[in-house]
Symmetry: C2
Subunit: 763 residues, 2 copies
């Protein structure tokens, strides 16, 4: 790796906002104080399924301090937009409620306590309807219909290659069923917004979002306002993990309350609401059938799945289609068939979650891979290497892999974990591995037909810059990485960069933080903008000192001749100031649009991702056979991120992903009984505690992506994806039981151990 | 005037923010709520002149709720920057205080009342020094020295042409002495700031300023911070009139208090402080000697003046030099000599004020013109027309006039006022006129060597735009005018424009609101940016419909073929969205730099203004000879503004200027006795009341400036400039007395009437 050619790129730099966050002075949405703000509260359905006969807010509106109330009558016809024609969630119930927590009415008042009190004065007449909670039940003929169109929100079936022939050619066929649970994002800051529909008819929404520009588009199109009258602003964001793509009902509700009062209206989810109002990770049921040759060559993969959509469409269809693509990714299986139903139930609806379905399908694929390896008498590692993805590979779906360091990830992760030495040693200790292939730079078609980011750089008279990007730093550190890119290109220190983000009015287009796209897409945009400034700067410097700009370089705020790096010829500030005085201040604009097409689907014509990220994780666990308790002892995660723009932050992403994946594997579960969430708080909803977290060794594999900035590609999502399978495989290695449903609780292990014991006794 | 070729330009449109202002929801600086804010208060000198022996803040700092205190020790060496090497005002006194109100120490506390209380606990030992209040006294040898260098801050003397020969050639020589007073800006919002030096070392200053970008430069250079660490933000501004160019001590004081506490610190002037802390209009003493031929041809003008600088340099030298230039402007006198002293006194120091000295010198020139006309037996109107400035004229100083509608102003103002019919009719009624020539687009060299503005336009997917400009709307309406320019160029309604201004981070360079420059300079920048977007838009549309872009036009959000204006071929939104989807969102950047040089001073090499604005005002008054009270009955103001971009707003500028000029003429006076301001509030400081304001007829003369946007040039300052002379001349016409000192109080009129009576008795 040619790491030392860079001055700022690749360095272990702290985040720009670290000091503010550590000192407690960083501002989050709840810290914002907009004069005249009212407080909104929402009345929610206590029933999982009911007809709404009457909503009467008149008593509530008469309570002193209450300024307005809204019901489904006010927002009639509006559906929460995810850029899909299937969107069907009204911000406030119209004729029916479909889950416990469904929004029915809302008030805005002078204080939170008045608003809370007012909710009790809203009269609602419900007519209860029979609910259905299990997606398989919901699919049965005669099941109660949750939506007009029936309970199957979407069905999709396709095949690449010839699955039946491939299964026939296979020496072995494996069939397994896996089930995953609803996981909550558990960002420490709950979702909130302040909406202000001012006297000029301009709507400003302060919001916790991952996407400012798409949110502006959503609000504009949903409310019939020109973009010029919609401004979306964020503060620091206390974590996101997919939960803040698109809008929640609160943004629409707050807007309508503000429209009535012409005052800013603030609604912030309580933790209870955060767990119960929607958009957790989709639970899925996956049947996976795999055909393999004796030598371990994977020939066929057939996936049948049911997605538990919950009460409304959000990203359920997109996630399911994403899983469909991802079936074809890992290990490059040449023949793949996919069949899926997305099914309504009277439960909290799902939403986007870090990995966007890949965590679910990878749990299935990689758990089954272990079973295959053992059956074939191969080491899992060898089976993986046998089928490993490689640069230049084209998947059966037509997606093309460019850079690929998966082989290195497998080798380095297993080496670091002591794979050979620890494998199959028994004594309730075990080691397991799992890998991931994921999109490395988002994908086209969130809306329209591009996957772009734009950046503006103004150079100030003193050679420092203002860098505007529409990318969103949701806590993952994109601002720091983008500043590093600009610093590298312009030969200036990080301190000289003023990052402008988080406001649609003042930043150029960008689709925001999703699909692990920001380092790659926004990074490339910033690089192009900075290069434009650099070229102009060198050109102007060349004029001043009568030199070919090609012979000059920028370093440490100075301009040097390449032939003499000891003595600078001009300062950048000097040139910047001269350009200003000459009436041509320095400015650069960069637009980067994913060139895609690389992986165009020949059938649909849809572009595939421009690049993919890879990784292999190895978990070492100890299982207590008396309690069923799993302790993760050691963890190694090797990830191909193309190039580490900031190794410290990359390690942070890996560690965070692994911990969240560990929670998914062992603890987290949004438990619902008859549609009621039983654990809607951080005490009962169990995330990993400090004691649960092993030492995590992060290995950064740099495959140098040909299209990524400095070779980088996305790392936001991959680290959470293979963790559950790695742990499940390690458990199998430790105690010989295969748990196919998440989370892998002590009860499930004890039960499996008992069954295993009984089975062996029978023999 | 080819007015109807435009769709938006020239229309009488309300301001973008009217509804917010009228409904009381517009946000001003005091409305901003920054979490954790502390309140700062300043201890000021009670003495006009004293040595500061000791400042002890320790008792104040021990008061519960006080978070920090600062003194001159903290800010040592800092001087308030006006981009002049003569700047010498420390934000907090170092060894001496020089006027009553001079800043000595400051505290930041949890509340305003605690801060107030803490001031009483600060101990200061002063050693009183003899003060000097009169500039003529201060110039005398042996006068007590206010600054090290003596009491003459600056002396300047120059001559263009041959003044002595010209005086010899003259048939008549007129010599008069005029004196003007200190006028307060009386913006309804006092000056304030919130400074926050955060954990990342970034200084954000929310401020009432006319110049965000120069203020960023000042703060950056003064505090030794890179520009990237300084952000200047404004809210709505409740009037400015020159008072908010550059910074006040409070910005530096609040910054240092914030640096100590790492919390935002807010300091807002009380009305008392606003009147007493500095930067009112400079009082001057003008001796003017004019040589004239019998036929009225003006041959020579010799001006000797003394500027009462007050205790420190602010814009006193610049204003004095401005007056020097302006001596050569009006009536194009071929031989002009100028000699001036800027003199310190132990009084509130002056600052920039709408007109920047032109109000003072025009009062002298135009009062004397009347005297000349009467002496020559000419009508003032004819004398003016005889010497009228004209397009293509080059002044003796080398400045070149391009567009000039002064002749039309004289003719139209006098016609509308019924000049001939009302002139010299006696019965204590009179009519008087006065004219103005002023810079119409600022001037180069505020700092560096340019007079530029830059604008960015992002076109959104729906064809609406975000328009970023560094221009400052201080209440004069520049945002509305800039939006009109963009709307005109792009064929979109005003509603489709989102104006981004008032923040250095998010707007491009602009020198801000001063010198009547924004319509012209920033307007041209916006026009260029919009044109770039338009060209790109037409080019893309041409590709879509296979047409030459030259054959297409933009109108009403649509694209039409020039040959068929009935049926649109595409919507702008369609093209904008297509460009976005194609990965090239529409964007335009405009930079306009005053081409100057047109009026380069051959001696100094300094550029003169790129254009000039003109005007003529006619006042009709009634004087009560028993009380001396003047009632302005009617007022006509004809102003050459090149082209009215928004006639309603132009009339607003004229009316506002005339009213402020009427106050200057008759009422306003910051009265000081032994350095103490006696009327530091809006009750005692008399501005015009509704009853004092006559009907004002505004006439817009459109001379079509060749360089201005759509022919426009500046109108911000001119309307205040000739008002006092017009009223003084009308008073002469009414009762035959010439008052040469402002304001023209009843006492002065009575005294003059008495003297006149005595004089005529003597005869």
């Amino acid at each position: 790796m040619a790491q030392d050619v860079y001055t700022v790129i690749g360095k272990r730099l702290p985040r720009l906002e670290s000091e503010e966050k550590v000192s407690g002075t960083a501002r989050y949405l709840p810290d914002l104080q907009i004069p005249g703000t009212l407080y909104g509260k929402i009345l929610r359905s206590p029933y999982p399924h009911a007809r709404v006969l009457r909503v009467d807010t008149s008593r509530a509106e008469r309570l002193p301090g209450v300024r307005a109330a809204v019901t489904g009558n006010d927002t009639k016809g509006i559906r929460l937009c995810t850029f899909s024609r299937f969107d069907n969630k009204p911000p406030l119930a119209e004729e029916r409620v479909r889950f416990i927590g469904d929004e029915v009415a809302a008030v805005a008042a002078d204080s939170e306590s008045i608003a809370e009190e007012a909710l009790d004065l809203i009269e609602v007449d419900y007519e209860e309807l029979p609910p259905v909670f299990d997606p398989l039940e919901a699919m049965k003929p005669g099941a109660v219909g949750i939506h007009e169109e029936g309970n199957v929100a979407y069905h999709r079936s396709w095949m690449y290659g010839d699955i039946e022939s491939a299964l026939k050619e296979s020496d072995y066929i494996f069939e397994d069923q896996f089930r995953t649970q609803a996981q909550a994002h558990c960002a420490l800051e709950t979702h909130g917004c302040i909406a202000y529909f001012d006297q000029t008819g301009t709507l400003t929404v302060w919001i916790t979002t991952q996407w400012i520009h798409p949110t502006r588009r959503i609000l504009s199109e949903t409310l019939g306002l020109p973009y010029s009258k919609v401004r979306v602003i964020t503060a620091n964001i206390g974590g996101s993990f997919g939960r803040s793509g698109g809008i929640e009902p609160i943004e629409i509700i707050a807007t309508f309350l503000s429209k009535k009062t012409r005052r800013p209206v603030r609604i912030i989810h309580s933790h209870d609401e955060q767990f119960t109002s929607g958009r957790s990770r989709y639970p899925v049921l996956i049947d996976i059938k795999t055909g393999v040759k004796k030598d371990g060559t994977l020939l066929a993969r057939k996936v049948r799945m049911v997605t538990d959509n919950g009460a409304y469409n959000n990203f359920g269809i997109a996630v399911t289609l994403g899983i469909g693509s991802k079936c074809t990714y890992l290990w490059g299986v040449p023949n793949v068939a996919f069949d899926a139903d997305v099914v309504y139930t009277n439960k909290v609806y799902g939403g986007a979650f870090r990995g966007f379905g890949n965590g679910q399908i990878t749990f299935a694929i990689e758990s089954q891979m272990e079973t295959i390896a053992r059956k074939l008498g191969m080491d899992m590692k060898d089976l993986c290497l046998k089928n490993v993805n490689y640069p230049g590979q084209r998947t059966c779906m037509g997606h093309k892999i460019t850079s690929c360091g998966l082989k290195e990830c497998i080798e380095q992760a297993t080496a670091a974990a002591g794979w050979e030495a620890k494998r199959g040693k028994g004594r309730n200790r075990g080691i397991g591995m799992a890998s991931v292939m994921h999109i490395g730079a988002g994908i086209r078609n969130l809306y329209g037909d591009c996957n772009l980011s734009e950046a503006f750089i103004k150079m100030n008279n003193d050679g420092t810059i203002d860098l505007a990007s529409g990318a969103m730093d949701t806590g993952q550190g994109s601002n720091t990485v983008l500043a590093q890119v600009a610093a590298e290109e312009l030969g200036i220190p990080m301190r000289d960069i003023n990052m402008i983000t988080g406001d649609t009015s003042t930043t150029p287009q960008c689709l925001g933080a999703w699909g692990s796209r920001e380092a790659f897409i926004a990074g490339n945009a910033v690089k192009l903008a900075a290069r434009e400034v650099r070229l102009r700067l060198l050109e102007e410097a060349g004029k001043i000192i009568k030199s070919d700009p090609e012979d000059l370089i920028l370093k440490d705020r100075q301009i040097y001749r390449k032939t003499n790096l000891q003595e600078s010829v001009l300062s950048i500030a000097h040139v910047a100031n001269a350009c200003y005085n000459a009436g041509r201040p320095l400015f650069g604009r960069g637009i980067y649009d994913d060139p895609s097409g690389l992986g165009i689907d020949p059938k649909t014509g849809h572009g595939g991702p421009v690049t993919y990220s890879f990784g292999t994780q190895v978990a070492e666990v100890e299982v207590d056979p008396r309690t069923g308790k799993v302790k993760v002892l050691n963890f190694v995660a090797a990830h191909d991120l193309g190039k580490a723009l900031n190794a410290m932050m990359a390690e942070g992403q890996i560690e965070g992903g692994v911990i969240q994946g560990l929670g998914y594997a062992l603890f987290e579960d949004l438990v619902m009984e008859e549609g009621l969430v039983l654990n809607p708080n951080l005490q009962d909803y169990r995330i990993p505690y400090v004691n649960d977290i092993p030492k995590i060794v992060s290995i950064l594999v740099e495959s140098q992506d040909p299209e990524g900035p400095y070779g980088a590609k996305g790392l936001g999502e991959p680290p959470i994806i293979p963790t559950a399978a790695a742990i499940a495989n390690a458990i199998y290695d430790a105690v010989g039981v295969r748990i196919k449903t998440l989370p892998i609780t002590p009860e499930k292990i004890l039960k499996a151990l008992k069954e295993k014991e009984e089975g062996s006794k029978k023999k």
